[in-house]
Amino acid sequence: MEVVSQEIPLEHFVMLSMVLFSIGVYGVLARRNAVLILMSVELMLNAVSINLVAFAVYTAPSLFVGIIFAIFVITIAAAEVGLALAVVLRVFRNRGTSNVDEVNALKW
């Protein structure tokens, strides 16, 4: 495996990932459209992936478990997006809205 010297410290990647994750949390909590919430979830998943890959590359390069994990995260995220959008479509067809606060049939 080729080794290159690295200029950027690990904590820069961690900082980027933590800011991205917080923005995603804000989006999930503040938005009321289901598709926009899903987009914020994607941001959070990507923040986690950056973190996994950065730690894998910096701390355990011979194992690169984090890279494999990131591949699985992307796979599951793709499946999740497909399913969630199908659910959103079904909710929209049945109730005429995709706003999560208007879908309150289970609310007492």
Binding site: M1, E2, V3, V4, S5, Q6, E7, I8, P9, L10, H12, F13, V14, M15, L16, M18, V19, L20, F21, I23, G24, V25, Y26, L29, A30, R31, R32, V35, L36, M39, S40, E42, L43, N46, I50, V57, Y58, P61, F64, I67, I68, I71, F72, I74, T75, I76, A78, A79, E80, V81, G82, L85, A86, V87, V88, L89, R90, R93, S98, N99
Partner: protein
């Protein structure tokens, strides 16, 4: 030089993410999401994981972006002017900032290695070999998950008899 590239990518990612959560037009939010995710692909290249960068562009820039824009089109949220944020917006900001503060505290208390050290480039074939040997079972399970999700999505989105 690398640092400059990292800063550009970080600005792209954070700017795109802020666009996703703040902007009032849903289609623009989707475009900002693509921008942010492509920035993440750039970060993967910086981390010398080219395979993940390619996968990121293919899956997020291609499949997920198209899916999301399709869903926006089919649910027609762009047509009518409506509030995209709930009333809990200030609380959400407080929660997100608290989380950020907690992360920052943990980061501040951690001692990071002063020298960035060296970075190992993991070649494609090594990842492939590992994926099909050591991680073969999770790989197969993931393909099963994808199949189930595919069938489930088709069943959910299918128009039932007598519906409209």
């Amino acid at each position: 030089m690398t640092q400059v590239f990292f800063d550009i990518m970080a600005a792209t990612i954070i700017g795109g993410a802020l666009g996703v959560v703040l902007i009032r037009n849903v289609v623009h939010a989707a475009l900002f999401l693509i921008m942010s995710l492509m920035g993440v692909a750039g970060v993967y290249i910086l981390l010398s994981v080219e395979f993940l960068a390619l996968v990121q562009v293919l899956i997020y820039g291609g499949a997920v972006a198209v899916l999301i824009i399709f869903a926006l089109m089919l649910t027609r949220v762009g047509e009518l002017k409506q509030k995209l944020d709930g009333d809990q917006r200030p609380l959400a900001a407080v929660a997100a900032l608290t989380l950020l503060g907690a992360f920052a505290t943990v980061m501040y208390k951690t001692t990071w290695p002063r020298d960035p050290g060296q970075l190992t480039v993991v070649p494609f074939d090594t990842i492939g070999t590992a994926l099909f040997n050591r991680w073969a079972v999770p790989f197969e399970v993931a393909s099963g998950v994808l199949l189930v999700a595919l069938v489930g999505a088709v069943v959910l989105a299918m128009q039932e008899e007598g519906e409209r």
